[in-house]
C-alpha cells in the first residue's frame, strides 16, 4: 500500500507538469496584449521597457520555466516565510496579476475563505442529505419514497445550477423576501445578529450546490446499498437474529460506503467547477468569480495559476480516492 501510494504520488508529478504546460501553451495563443489598456501617451521606448520587465518578448519556454519556478519554488517559500517569519523569499519575483498588480496568491488567499465556506458547507449538506435518502430508497426499493427520490435526483441532474439558482432568487428573494439574493462579503461576523445574517445569505447558494451533490450521491448510495443487500452475509446476519437496524446500519452500510466514500472524494473538484456558476449568480466573490473576471480582463498569470490550482485539486482528489479505496476495501490490493 505504501509503495503504491508513493508510486502514485511520483506519477502525479509528471501529470501535473504536463497539465501546467498544456494550460500554458493554450494561454500562450491568447491574442490579447497585456499592455493594451495602458494609456496611449506612453512613449514607445517606455512601453518596450515595460514589455521587457514583464518578460513578454522572451521565448515561450523561458516564460514557462519562469512561471514554473515561481509557482513551485518561490510561492512555497513565501508561504514558509509567512508561517515561520523567515526571509527566504526576500527579493524573489512572485507571480503578479496584471489586473490587480499584486501577487496572485495574495488575492487567492483573500478569496479562498468565501469559496471554501460556501462550497465546503454545500458539499457537507449535500452529503448529509444524500446518504439517508440513498439508504432508505434502497431499503424500500420501488416504494413511493424511492420513486420520489429518483424523480428528485433526476431533476437535480437536469436542472442546471444557473436555472435553479435564479429560480431560488425569484422565489425566496423576490417573491418571498426571506433571503438576500446577493452575498455580502464585507459582512463581519462578530455577534449573534451578524451571524444570523451570514447564515441567511449563505442559505441559497448552499442549497443550489447541495441539490446537485444530493442528486448524484443519493443515486450512488442507493445502487451501492442494493448491491450489498442481496449478499449472503446479510442473510446470515438476519438469521443470527440481528435487528433490521443493526443489519442495515452496521453490516450493509459499512460495506456500501466503500465506493461511496471514493465518489465523495472524486466529487470535490467538480463542485469547485460548479461553484464558478453559482458564485456568479449570487455574486460571491470567491475563486470562481475571480477566474471569470480574470478571463474577461485577459489577466493571464491569474488564469494560468487558477486553472492549474483546479487541476491540482482534481489530481489530488483522484489520488485520495484511489488510496481510500485500497484502504477501505481489503479485497483490493494494489501491490
Amino acid at each position: 500500500m505504501l509503495t503504491y501510494t508513493i508510486r502514485r504520488l511520483l506519477l502525479a508529478i509528471p501529470t501535473l507538469l504536463l497539465i501546467s504546460l498544456i494550460i500554458f501553451l493554450l494561454l500562450d495563443l491568447a491574442p490579447g496584449d497585456p499592455l493594451a489598456n495602458q494609456p496611449l501617451s506612453i512613449p514607445p521606448e517606455v512601453r518596450q521597457k515595460m514589455r521587457d520587465a514583464l518578460g513578454l518578448d522572451s521565448p515561450a519556454y523561458v516564460r514557462y520555466l519562469l512561471w514554473a519556478k515561481q509557482f513551485f519554488w518561490v510561492e512555497p517559500l513565501v508561504f514558509v516565510d509567512w508561517v515561520l517569519g523567515t526571509g527566504f523569499s526576500a527579493d524573489m519575483q512572485r507571480i503578479v496579476s496584471w489586473q490587480f498588480r499584486s501577487p496572485v496568491f495574495d488575492i487567492i488567499i483573500q478569496r479562498l475563505p468565501q469559496t471554501l465556506w460556501v462550497v465546503g458547507l454545500a458539499y457537507l449538506v449535500g452529503v448529509l442529505i444524500a446518504l439517508p435518502i440513498g439508504i432508505i430508497s434502497a431499503y424500500k426499493q420501488y416504494s413511493w419514497f424511492d420513486q420520489v427520490g429518483t424523480f428528485i435526483s433526476m431533476i437535480g441532474f437536469s436542472v442546471p445550477p444557473f436555472f435553479s439558482g435564479v429560480l431560488m432568487i425569484v422565489v425566496f428573494a423576490i417573491m418571498l423576501p426571506w433571503f438576500p439574493s446577493i452575498y455580502d462579503t464585507t459582512l463581519v461576523v462578530n455577534d449573534l445578529e451578524s451571524f444570523g445574517q451570514q447564515i441567511r445569505q449563505m442559505t441559497l447558494p448552499v442549497l443550489v450546490l447541495a441539490l446537485q451533490t444530493t442528486a448524484q450521491l443519493s443515486r450512488f448510495m442507493r445502487a451501492s446499498m442494493l448491491d450489498n443487500l442481496n449478499h449472503d452475509y446479510v442473510r446470515t446476519a438476519r438469521a443470527k437474529g440481528m435487528t433490521e437496524k443493526v443489519v442495515l446500519l452496521v453490516h450493509v452500510l459499512r460495506n456500501s460506503m466503500i465506493p461511496v466514500v471514493t465518489v465523495i472524494a472524486l466529487g470535490i473538484p467538480s463542485i469547485f467547477g460548479g461553484a464558478i456558476i453559482t458564485e456568479q449568480i449570487f455574486k460571491v466573490n470567491g475563486l470562481g468569480q475571480l477566474l471569470i473576471t480574470a478571463i474577461y480582463a485577459n489577466d493571464l498569470p491569474m488564469v494560468q495559476t487558477l486553472a492549474f490550482i483546479f487541476a491540482v485539486l482534481i489530481v489530488l482528489c483522484n489520488l485520495i480516492a484511489d488510496i481510500l479505496y485500497g484502504m477501505l476495501d481489503p479485497r483490493i490490493r494494489y501491490d
Binding site: 491574442p31 429560480l167 467547477g273 474577461y296 487558477l306
Partner: protein
C-alpha cells in the same frame, strides 16, 4: 453486406422481427423513457416547425410593445426591445439543440474511436488511456472558458460571428467530453476480444479494419448510444452555462442560455422571463436523461425479455 449472395439463405423468423423490435418493446415498458421521448419529440417539433406557424421574426424590434406581458399577440410577452419571446425561444431552441446534437456527435465519435482503438490495439492502449486520464484531470470548465475567450475573435473573423461561435463552442465541448465514452467503449472492447466469435473471425484472416467495423463496432453500439443520448444533455447544459457566463453566442443571436442570461438583468421587474428558457433547458435535459435511462435498460439483453 457480403460480397456474394449466399446460395441458400438461412430460414429466418418469418415475422421479420429484428432485434430493434425487441429493444423497442423493452423501451416501451419504461414509462419515464416513453414520456421523455414524447417531450423531446414535442420540443424538437416545436423549435423546428414552430417558426413556420409563428412567423414573427425573432430579431424583429417593436419598440412600442416592449416589456409587454403575455397577450394574444405575444403569448410569452416581449423583451426590453419589444422582440417576441416565443419566437426567440424557438430560434434559441434550434441553436441549443443543434449545438447539443453536433457536440454530442463529435464527442461520441472521438470517444468511440479512441475507445475502440485503445481496446483493440494493445500497443496503443497505454498511451491512449494515459491521454484519457490526462483529459479527465484537466479543469474543464475553466479551460472551456479560456478556449472560448481565445479563439472567438479568430473564428468569428473567418466564419462570421454566428457560425464561428457555433464551430468554436461545438468543437470545444466535443473535445472536452469524450473521455467517459472512450473508457466505457474500451472496457467493452476488451471483454469482446476474448469472445469466441472474434477468435473465429481472426482465424479466417479478417483484417483489423474489417474486424472493427463488422464485429466489434456493432457489439459496442449500445453503450455508445446510451452515452450519445446523455452527451446531448451535457452539451446543452455546457453551452447554456457558457452563454450564461457571457462567453457564448453573440447578444443578438438567441440561444436558451443567452435568453436566460439576458433575462437576469430584469429579474426584479419581470421574473417570469427567466422562467421560459430555464424551463426549456431543464425539460430537454430531463427528457433526454430519461431516454438514456430507458435505452440503457432496453439495450441490455440481460434485462430485455424479462
Amino acid at each position: 453486406m457480403t460480397d456474394q449472395p449466399m446460395a441458400k439463405p438461412i430460414p429466418r423468423d418469418t415475422s421479420g422481427r429484428s432485434q430493434w423490435w425487441d429493444v423497442w418493446d423493452q423501451f416501451k415498458t419504461h414509462k419515464g423513457a416513453l414520456f421523455g421521448a414524447g417531450v423531446f419529440l414535442f420540443i424538437l417539433l416545436a423549435v423546428t416547425l414552430g417558426p413556420l406557424v409563428w412567423t414573427i421574426e425573432p430579431t424583429f424590434i417593436d419598440i412600442r410593445a416592449r416589456n409587454s406581458g403575455p397577450s394574444l399577440a405575444h403569448p410569452f410577452g416581449t423583451d426590453q426591445l419589444g422582440r417576441d419571446i416565443l419566437a426567440r425561444m424557438m430560434a434559441g431552441g434550434q441553436v441549443s439543440i443543434a449545438v447539443g446534437l453536433t457536440a454530442m456527435a463529435i464527442s461520441v465519435f472521438l470517444g468511440a474511436l479512441i475507445g475502440v482503438v485503445a481496446g483493440f490495439f494493445r500497443r496503443l492502449d497505454g498511451m491512449l488511456m494515459g491521454l484519457t486520464d490526462l483529459f479527465l484531470a484537466l479543469p474543464l470548465l475553466p479551460l472551456l472558458l479560456v478556449m472560448v475567450m481565445l479563439f472567438r475573435e479568430t473564428l468569428s473573423r473567418s466564419f462570421g460571428p454566428e457560425m464561428g461561435t457555433f464551430i468554436l463552442i461545438v468543437s470545444a465541448i466535443g473535445i472536452t467530453s469524450w473521455m467517459q465514452t472512450a473508457r466505457i467503449v474500451r472496457g467493452e472492447v476488451l471483454a469482446l476480444k476474448e469472445r469466441e466469435f472474434v477468435l473465429a473471425a481472426r482465424s479466417i484472416g479478417t483484417p483489423s479494419r474489417r474486424m472493427i467495423l463488422r464485429h466489434i463496432l456493432p457489439n459496442v453500439l449500445s453503450p455508445i448510444m446510451v452515452s450519445a443520448t446523455l452527451g446531448i444533455a451535457t452539451a446543452i447544459i455546457t453551452e447554456s452555462a457558457l452563454s450564461f457566463l457571457g462567453l457564448g453566442f453573440p447578444p443578438d443571436f438567441p440561444t436558451w442560455g443567452r435568453l436566460l442570461f439576458d433575462a437576469i438583468d430584469y429579474l426584479q421587474q419581470y421574473p417570469e422571463r427567466v422562467f421560459w428558457p430555464g424551463l426549456a433547458i431543464s425539460l430537454t435535459v430531463l427528457s433526454v436523461n430519461y431516454i438514456g435511462d430507458g435505452l440503457r435498460d432496453a439495450l441490455d439483453p440481460r434485462i430485455r425479455g424479462r
